[in-house]
């Protein structure tokens, strides 16, 4: 045999197909999932009401995921978002119930605090040069402590005004639940910021290659701090909406959003672009997770299976996309 030097080579067609799969695999997966659930449960799953309910439920996690996307685009991680959202929920109810502040003022204070937490995270990471995982984990833990200190661990339940609850429960526009509107505004705004503004170009540049961005004259530290600020403000919005939905300020209420948000962000990085974080990707990643949860719910699958689903889909989707990319380029 003359094939001593034989090596398996992929044909150009196969490589092109793999490249498409790497970029559109998650979207194909999302569509397949919707089709399968619709086929298996034609009366419960593919209905307007179900989709609206799912989205409304998911909006809070999605807003956090949108903010987290900003932190990861500038090349950092923000692990404080879940804890921060919990604190914001406690604080906003406290400001309204105990301090009798008008609702808009309370919400603005909480949003400003979210931005401030972002500045603190950003300054620790850029100026003190602490790894962002450690910095935000530390800040997040401090926030848990502050939250307990403020509420003494007791949920604030009584005296929450109806008008505040309407923030999450109302349907102010076209009968669409408010959380969906807020989520759409956040994603629309962040998408415009990243893809269509000069600052957005700098944000992408800093995340893509900090050395090149610096030498091109971009203030890398400032852009990184901005990423944390946006992440912190989204956490504040989620915390506020969660408190309004629950009708109470509860410590730990939003902690679990962190994992869902991370899953959405990383699923998103395997969508449409080659392993790059972006807002539209996060949106699609979040849809995959929440619709998957919803489908499993409709079939009465036990709670544990949802965690298995979330973990497995993340590894499979990101893994297949990166495998497809490397094969396509080989």
């Amino acid at each position: 045999m003359s094939d001593a030097g034989y090596r398996r080579r992929l044909s150009p067609g196969t490589r092109a197909a793999l490249g498409v799969f790497a970029r559109y695999g998650t979207i194909i997966g999302l569509l397949v999932m919707i089709l399968v659930f619709s086929f298996l449960s034609p009366h419960a799953f593919p209905t307007y009401n179900n989709f609206i309910n799912v989205l409304s439920q998911a909006s809070l996690a999605m807003i956090i995921a949108g903010g987290l996307t900003m932190a990861v685009i500038v090349g950092e991680l923000d692990l404080s978002v879940g804890y921060a959202a919990s604190l914001h929920g406690v604080l906003v109810t406290g400001l309204i119930v105990a301090n009798h502040l008008p609702i808009p003022v309370a919400v603005l204070i909480v949003l400003a605090l979210g931005a401030l937490i972002g500045v603190v995270n950003g300054v620790i990471v850029t100026k003190l040069k602490v790894n962002s995982v450690i910095a935000t984990l530390g800040v997040g833990t401090v926030l848990v402590g502050l939250s307990f200190a403020y509420s003494a661990g007791v949920p604030i339940v009584s005296g929450v005004p109806e008008a505040f609850l309407q923030l999450a429960l109302g349907r102010w526009l076209f009968g669409i639940p408010n959380p969906i509107i807020f989520m759409a505004l956040v994603f629309g705004g962040l998408w415009l910021l990243v893809e269509r503004t000069a600052i957005g170009q700098e944000i992408q540049a800093v995340g893509g290659n900090p050395a090149a961005a610096r030498l091109a004259g971009i203030n890398v530290d400032r852009i990184k701090i901005l990423g944390f600020v946006l992440s912190g403000m989204c956490a504040a919005l989620t915390g506020t909406l969660l408190a309004a939905r629950l009708g109470s300020g509860t410590t730990n209420a939003a902690d679990s959003y962190l994992l869902t948000a991370f899953a959405a962000v990383f699923l998103g990085s395997a969508t449409l672009r080659d392993g790059e974080f972006h807002i539209l990707g996060t949106f699609i990643g979040a849809l995959i997770i929440v619709l998957g949860f919803n489908g499993l719910n409709i079939f009465g699958a036990p709670t544990f299976s949802q965690f298995v689903f979330q973990g497995a889909i993340l590894i499979v989707a990101v893994g297949l996309a990166s495998l497809g990319r490397s094969l396509a380029e080989s």
């Binding site: 415009l192 269509r196 503004t197 000069a198 600052i199 170009q201 700098e202 992408q204 540049a205 893509g208 290659n209 050395a211 090149a212 961005a213 610096r214 030498l215 091109a216 004259g217 971009i218 203030n219 080659d274 790059e276």
Partner: protein, 510 residues
């Protein structure tokens, strides 16, 4: 004196190697005798590094053969190279800062085990002790490597080589970051190694050290080994002549002396250890070259000009106003632009499109309207298209990722970024490195054009051929100082190489 043993420890014979279109080695040979301190010299790009990479098993030669003690060998990996008794110590030392001295010495080497299968550090310490003493390492073995000086880390690397029982240690520019005292210590260790039968291949630009240490010296020029000097032939003049090449060419310079006003003025700039003193003026419309050897302090000087590092002393002005850049962003605001040396890691976002990379750091022209902060993708595509056309960048569309372009076209994208924002001063660090000959000509033309439009241009290049073609005036740096200014008919390739070796007084007047 006894005749040297006839069988060389390592002999590389007629080695050729090309990278893409560039021929790095054209039949170069090198042989090192056992226990010999052998020098390897040559101008930048002469092929020294390529030969070392081949000996180290990092890359494979296209043709030619290598023999160890007369046995032909194929060195297919760095692991194979150390198996053959060769040890390589690079300019940037590789060690684990947080591990101890002893752990670093033993890094990756087989270690004695106790009966329980654990590493027997006390036995290792006993074995290593004589070697430690031999290289003169006085630091405690349990000190963290990061607490040691550069010189002491060199000793760790040498100790490693000896533990591994290397017969040949290759040292690449060992004294580049050592003080004078540390150098003397290193030299006495090298002599000790040689006396004990360990050969040293000493690669350096510093001819004094070469003359002091080496019994024989191989000179590379343009990928060939042009001379092996030893005994009475081994003189400074002989070395320089071999490095430069016999013929001293005089290219006619027809360019007018530039009379534009001074844009950038630098006085007494210093940042030790690499930049000792730099003073010069750069005029509007001028292309000023900065030549010299790798490690002479040119890139470090550029970093000072660009605000990437802060100087210890000295002043700068741009158009007469004080210029104190604290960050690159500040330097850009004051009118500086930089085309960095490492275009793939420092100049470009390889995954992003040509249009994205062109607009980096200069986004105002892309705004859709003067009031709103949004940029117009259409404007961005149109401007990118225009730049692609002006610079004849070979690309399928402005949206093509920059990483897919050839080196020359990538470089044009980096230059194109500054074309639009028109800085007062543009610094280009190694603008044509790794670029094919055609694109090189185009980039040179582009640089002249930028100067023609009134920009003040500073070009750093390690290739002596490049500067005479391109520049009106060339400053040559050596060991942190500007040692020579060349212009007009004095501006030749050989004049730059001569000055690079700091031969300001003793000129070759052959």
């Amino acid at each position: 004196m006894a005749a040297p043993p006839a069988v060389p420890f390592v002999a590389a014979n007629a080695i050729s190697k090309s990278y893409g279109g560039a021929q790095a080695l054209r039949g170069a040979s090198l042989s090192v005798l056992p226990g010999e301190v052998h020098g390897l010299v040559g101008a930048n790009g002469a092929g020294k590094s390529t030969l070392i990479r081949i000996l180290a098993g990092v890359t494979q030669p296209d043709t030619g053969e290598i023999a160890i003690e007369d046995r032909p060998v194929a060195i297919l990996s760095p692991h194979a190279a150390s198996g053959l008794g060769m040890s390589f110590i690079h300019q940037e030392l590789a060690f684990v800062p947080d591990m101890t001295v002893l752990e670093n010495i033993m890094l990756g080497l087989p270690k004695k085990k106790t009966r329980l299968g654990l590493v027997d550090w006390s036995a290792i310490q006993r074995d290593v002790a004589p070697i430690i003493e031999r290289v003169g390492l006085t630091a405690p073995l349990d000190a963290a490597a990061k607490s040691l000086s550069t010189a002491e880390n060199w000793l760790i690397s040498i100790a490693r080589a000896l533990v591994w029982k290397a017969r040949l240690i290759v040292m690449d520019e060992p004294t580049a970051s050592l003080s004078a005292g540390e150098c003397r210590k290193l030299f006495s260790i090298i002599r000790g190694l040689s006396a004990a039968g360990v050969a040293v291949l000493y690669v350096s630009h510093r001819l004094d050290e070469i003359l002091d240490l080496c019994s024989r010296v191989t000179v590379f020029r343009d990928g060939r080994s042009v001379a092996v000097l030893g005994g009475p032939d081994l003189t400074r003049r002989g070395l320089v002549q071999a490095i430069v090449g016999g013929a001293v060419e005089h290219l006619p310079k027809s360019r007018e002396a530039t009379g534009g006003e001074i844009v950038l003025s630098v006085r007494g700039l210093r940042r030790l250890p690499r930049v000792e003193e730099a003073s010069f003026d750069l005029r509007r419309g001028e292309v000023l070259g900065l030549g010299g050897l790798v490690g002479a302090g040119r890139s470090e000087l550029a970093r000072l000009l660009y605000g990437a590092d802060r100087p210890d002393a000295g002043t700068m002005t741009i158009e007469g106003r004080p210029f104190v850049p604290r960050t690159p962003a500040g330097a850009v605001r004051a009118g500086m632009g930089l085309v960095p040396e490492e275009r793939r890691t420092e100049g470009l976002l390889l995954d992003k499109s040509i249009a994205f990379n062109l607009s980096l750091g200069n986004l105002t022209p892309l705004l859709a309207s003067p009031v709103l902060p949004f940029i117009s993708p259409r404007k961005r595509a149109r401007l990118a298209q225009a730049t692609i056309r002006d610079l004849s960048i070979k690309a399928s569309s402005p949206e093509q990722p920059v990483g897919r372009l050839s080196g020359g076209n990538q470089q044009k994208v980096v230059i194109g970024r500054w074309l639009r924002s028109k800085p007062k001063v543009l610094i280009l660090d190694e603008p044509t490195r790794g670029v094919d000959i055609g694109a090189r000509g185009e980039i040179h033309r582009l640089i002249r054009e930028l100067a023609g439009h009134g920009m003040a241009v500073l070009v750093i290049s390690s290739e002596p051929d490049e500067l005479p073609d391109l520049c009106d005036r060339v400053l040559v740096m050596a060991e942190g100082r500007i040692v020579r200014e060349l212009a007009g008919t004095d501006l030749t390739r050989s004049a730059i190489i001569e000055a690079s070796y700091a031969l300001t007084e003793e000129r070759v007047s052959a």
